[in-house]
Each structure stands twice: as C-alpha cells, then as structure tokens.
C-alpha cells in the first residue's frame, strides 16, 4: 500500500500553515488545532485517503499523529473504540 504520510503532512501544512510536523509528533498536544480541525481531518481521511471513518474509529489515538493516521488508513488502527 502507498505511503500516505506525505499527503497527511501536506494536509497538515495546509491547515496548520507554517507548521512542520514530525511523523510521530502529537498533533493535538502541540495545541495548533482549533475546534473545526477534527471535522476537516475526518473529511480528508475519507475523501482524499479513501478510508471511511466509522463511529468506532473515533479514538483520538487514531488521529493524533501522521503515523497514526497512516496506520488507520492501512487498516491497522492504533485503537478501536468499544
């Protein structure tokens, strides 16, 4: 499967202008994101990476870094909600 990480980085750079994020950096902990960001991120993962985001995927760990998003898209989510 393609490495989606460059596209995730590009998305983050677009939505959080001027922020160079490391692949394992916690996006949320860095405090750069606003309240609309989750919505935009979910739409990006679904629309541009082609991975439907379901109710049970809604665990912060699945979206918290470039690596985590890549794992989710590759079908190896960090966490599954119960």
């Amino acid at each position: 499967m393609d490495d989606v990480r460059p596209r995730v980085r590009e998305f983050l750079a677009r939505y959080i202008r001027g922020w160079e994020v490391a692949d394992d950096e916690d996006i949320f902990a860095a405090g750069h994101v606003n309240s609309l960001f989750i919505m935009q991120l979910v739409l990006f993962v679904e629309n541009e990476l082609g991975r439907e985001v379901r109710d049970e995927d809604l665990v912060l760990a699945n979206f918290s870094s470039v690596d985590a998003i890549a794992a989710l898209v590759a079908g190896r989510p960090e966490a599954v909600g119960g």
């Binding site: 939505y15 202008r17 309240s35 609309l36 989750i38 919505m39 979910v42 739409l43 990006f44 049970e56």
Partner: protein
C-alpha cells in the same frame, strides 16, 4: 440618445411593471448551474412554501405558535426526511437540494426553516456517528416525522463557548448507563421534540452526546416565550434532573461529543441557516421590488428614486452573492471536501449579515408600513437579527474566518520571498 434605465423596464401600458415578475413561483435570478433534478425540486419546494407557509407565517409569528398540523404537513411533504438517506426512509437529498429546500422555506418562514434545521441536525449527526442500532431505530422515525428531533446544547453559562457546557453525565451505578443533570435553554422546537441530542460533560472528563427521549423521567420541558425573532419556533428550556439514560444512548465515542457529534450537527445547522438567510434576503428584495413599484411619492414611484435604488441594488447583490456562497458550500459538502467546513462558515457569515442589511433596508423602503403589523418585512427584520446569533454568532464567524484566511490565501510576504 441613451435610454433611461428607469423607463426601459416597465413593460405594461400604465408604466407599472408586469405583475408576473413578482409571481411567487417565478425563478429569481439565474439557475446557477443547478441540475435539472435540482431545478425541479426547487420549484416544488417553492410551491409548497408559497401555498402552505407564506400566507400564514405572520400569524404564527404573532401567535408565537406553530400549529401541529403545519409540522404534519411539512412531514407529509417529506421535508423532515431530507437529511435521512433513502435506505432509512428519508428522501436523502443531495447537499445542494437540501440547501434549496431550506432556502425556499427560509424565504417563507424562518420558524419553519428552524424546525427543518434542528431536526436535520439530529438526523445528520446520527447518520454520521450513530451506532447501527441508533440509526435503525431513529432514522425512519425522524424521516417521516413520527419523532421530532431537537438539539440541546446551549446552557445559561455556555453559549458561544460550548466547551464550558456544565450539564453532567455521571456513570450510573445502577445498571450501567448515565445520569444527566443540568439545564439547556433556547432549544428550538423543544416544546414539540420527541428526542433531544444533549451535550454533557463526562465525569471522567471530556464531552459526550446523548439521545434523550422526551418522556424519560427526569426530563422536563418548559416553554420559553417573548423572543424577538423566529417567534413560532416553539422554544423551550429543558431541565435534566438526574435523568437516567442507558449506555446505548451515547452517540459516538465518549470524548467526541463536542468535536465530532455536535460539530457535525452544527456544520449542517450552519449550512441550513446560511440557506435560510439567502431565502430571507430574497424575501426582503421581492417585498421591496413590489412596494417600490406600487408606492408613489414626489410624483414618481419609489423605484425611481436613486437613494431607494441603491438599497434595491444592494439587496439584489446581497441575495445573489449569499446564494452563490451557499451553492459553493453545498457543492463542496456534496463532494466531502474538507474545504466545505470553511466554505459553510463563510456562507453563513455572509448570508446572515446580508439578510440583516436587507431586512433593515426593507423596513426603510416600506416606511411606516415596514414597522406596522401588516407587512412581513418587520418579521424579516426580527428574524434576521436572530440569524446573526445562532449557529456561531457574527463575531465567532469573524474569528474563525480571519484564521481561515491564512489557510485559504497565501500571505503576500510568503509569495514575494519565495
């Protein structure tokens, strides 16, 4: 010799504009690239609004009451199921068609439009984040109006700052669910709703959204009256006094109640209000075109006075631009594009402020009639004021859009430096 633009338009013998121009079904403006199907449904929505809503909206506003039969009529027309996919019994309109519905309804009556708004917000949040059981149970009922949905988030101490919601959701030591305690106010159609989407704060920290049926012990609905605008929207205060809900009434994951579930509902709410405001601005314009054509002062029709023309020009431009921003947001929503989020904020910001300006000018053009009880423009003015407060106030829109501008446009220095 150049033709005087003022004399070149009226086509009828006595110089009055052709009254058909104002016929309620007449399409206003270009169709802006709507598909055949979208044009067809728009005409249907317009016809429904003109027949069932326009003639009564002023009375509902005066009475601060929307009769149940009107809700039934709206349900029967399928309008409550617009945000529900066909496989759950809804009409599953595409985003643009849904916008056209809310726009035509908003042109007629902002209170009925607000019914469509909050009901669709609940349905949409469930489509997106509800469990399979929740979708199976609620969506068919929401689709046909057997159950009316309301959105219960705002509290006396939590308005724009929704993160400060204080209604608590405590884990229930008896039987595993949650116990909700708190007060929600300004809940649109709270007086009629059968199910509320409630945002609460978890004991463990973070927020969660719950479905709470009206008849659950511990939930009490208290009507609110005397609002400035959308007066027939059956507002209520909703008290939750140790109201127990089963664990399967939680929507989405704990901790995502605000950032995903309520945010998803609010995105649709904002989109709906944006279209409603585009409709409201159009209603102002059409009322003014008719009045400025009929009314004579200083030996001529109002429409011939240049200061009045300025207002008509601004109204026509504002209504058109609002509609175009709404269409743009709708197309991006339909495509699932992340850019739809900002596009929707922009559409709501522009449309609500354009509707406010249009309604202010509409009252002005109508003179004393505009403030009297017989002209709908005074209702438009009051309703438009509400639109700048709900679904993100004008100031919140400005804050978000200023931030968004840095994402949407490259700042000059970046470009020159390379």
């Amino acid at each position: 010799m150049t033709a005087d633009p003022r004399t070149s338009t009226p086509p009828t013998p006595d110089g009055a504009a052709d009254p058909r121009t104002y016929a309620s079904h007449a399409p206003v403006g270009a169709d802006d690239g709507l598909t055949e199907a979208q044009r067809t449904v728009r005409a249907e929505f317009a016809a429904f609004a003109d027949e069932h809503l326009v003639p009564h909206a002023d009375r509902w506003d005066r009475d601060e009451h929307l009769p149940r039969e009107v809700v039934d009529q709206v349900a029967k027309a399928g309008h409550l199921g617009a945000a529900v996919p066909a496989r759950y019994g809804g009409t599953g309109l595409d985003a643009v068609a849904l916008g056209l519905l809310h726009g035509e309804t908003g042109r007629a009556c902002s209170s009925v439009r607000s019914l469509l708004t909050v009901h669709s917000m609940v349905a949409h949040a469930l489509v997106r984040w509800g469990s399979a059981d929740q979708r199976r149970h609620w969506l068919p009922r929401l689709a046909d109006g057997t159950a009316l949905g309301a959105f219960a988030v705002t509290e006396p101490d939590a308005g724009s700052d929704l993160g400060s919601v204080a209604t608590s959701a405590r884990a229930d030591d008896r039987g595993g669910g949650y116990v909700l305690t708190g007060c929600k106010h300004w809940i649109t159609f709270g007086q009629y709703a059968d199910v509320f989407l409630v945002l609460a704060r978890l004991d463990a920290g973070g927020h969660a959204a719950f479905l709470v049926e009206r008849d659950r012990p511990g939930l009490d609905v208290e009507p609110m009256t005397g609002a400035l605008g959308t007066r027939a929207s059956m507002l209520a205060r909703v008290h939750l006094n140790g109201c127990r809900v089963p664990a399967d009434h939680l929507v989405g994951r704990p901790g995502f109640g605000l950032s995903a579930v309520v945010a998803t509902a609010l995105e649709l709410g904002r989109y709906s209000v944006a279209w409603g405001c585009a409709g409201l601005a159009e209603a102002c314009l059409r009322a003014c075109l008719a009045h400025a054509d009929r009314r004579h002062q200083f030996g001529g029709r109002l429409r011939g006075h240049q200061l009045v023309q300025r207002m008509l020009a601004d109204m026509a431009t504002g209504a058109t631009a609002a509609r175009l921003l709404c269409l743009r947001a709708g197309r991006l929503r339909e495509a699932g594009d992340p850019a739809s989020v900002h596009a929707t904020w922009m559409a709501k910001y522009f449309a609500s402020t354009a509707a406010s300006r249009a309604a202010g000018d509409a009252v002005q053009i109508h003179g004393a009639r505009g403030v009297g009880p017989d002209a709908p423009v005074q209702r438009y003015l009051r309703d438009a004021r509400v639109m700048e407060i709900i679904e993100g106030s004008t100031q919140l829109q400005q804050i978000v859009l200023a931030d968004a501008a840095y994402q949407l446009f490259p700042p000059e220095t970046e470009r020159t430096n390379g």
